[in-house]
């Protein structure tokens, strides 16, 4: 499951990087009294998380991220929350193994 956890961390790190890269973020947070520093720490963490992910899953993650903006998607009531397709009963998550949505190609998060 450690690989899955690294992938989820990678997902959250990308969310944080996107937030930091947004031109509106710094002025908005300053107005709220919240300081935020440049992205170096996030980039370092992202590189570390990447090392824990197998090449194949990294490729699938990046492909889905390039296509939809996010590479991982939660499952709710057996539906992929990215494309809202009901997953076939053959798609399961035994012992936390990584699985892919066969419809949209996002990596599924069963948490």
């Amino acid at each position: 499951m450690s690989e899955g956890l690294d992938l989820l961390r990678l997902h959250d790190l990308h969310l944080l990087e996107d937030e930091l890269a947004d031109p509106g973020t710094a002025p908005r947070l300053r107005r709220l009294g919240l300081a935020i520093e440049p992205r170096a720490a996030v980039t370092r963490e992202r590189e570390r998380a990447l090392l824990g992910v197998d090449r194949r899953w990294r490729y699938l993650y990046e492909r889905a991220r390039g296509r939809y903006g996010r590479g991982v998607c939660p499952v709710k009531e057996r539906s992929c929350q990215g494309c809202h397709i009901r997953l076939p009963t053959s798609v399961t998550n035994p012992s936390g193994a990584l699985t892919l949505c066969e419809s949209c190609g996002r990596i599924l998060y069963w948490g």
């Binding site: 959250d12 790190l13 969310l15 709220l32 963490e45 998060y109 948490g111």
Partner: protein
């Protein structure tokens, strides 16, 4: 998208009147665990990791004894606030050096936009901006009294 903060207090376990940890990272761990127990978070360990990283980018203490840690994460199921009080105070590396007695954890799901997340943080900060309101929160008898203040603000 305007997020009502009142929805966050239907579960009183999300109002914590007496935080016992005194270290910032341990406090974040406890708040993530509470949110998980309340069904708002899938994976508290992942959320804790994201919250700690956010703190490393800049402390989320906004001064006057208040901290607003926040995360937009795949670990979060629904937008929620967790409000906690530490009578003894927590060293949060605030710019004004004042120990934090009020913590408002802001949680947004990954599919919320950056703007919506910042708006939610803004609402949370507005709730504790006034000295009178902070005093009421610090003096509230218990979790239901804290939740009532939040509902009143949201009305």
């Amino acid at each position: 998208m305007t997020i009502s903060i009142g929805a966050s207090v239907h579960d009183l376990s999300l109002c914590i009147p007496d935080l016992s940890p005194r270290k910032r990272d341990t406090v974040l761990e406890e708040l993530a665990a509470r949110a998980h127990l309340a069904g708002a978070v899938r994976d508290p360990a992942l959320l804790h990791h994201t919250l700690c990283l956010r703190e490393r980018l800049g402390a989320t203490a906004v001064g006057k004894g208040v901290a607003v840690p926040n995360a937009r994460s795949i670990a979060v199921i629904d937008p929620r606030l967790v409000i906690a009080r530490s009578p003894r105070g927590i060293d949060w590396k605030a710019a004004d050096g004042i120990a934090v007695q009020l913590v408002v954890l802001v949680l947004s799901p990954a599919d919320h936009t950056i703007e919506a997340h910042h708006e939610f943080i803004g609402r949370a900060i507005a709730f504790v901006r006034l000295q009178k309101q902070r005093q009421k929160l610090l003096e509230a008898r218990d979790a239901p009294a804290m939740a009532a203040l939040l509902r009143e603000f949201d009305a």
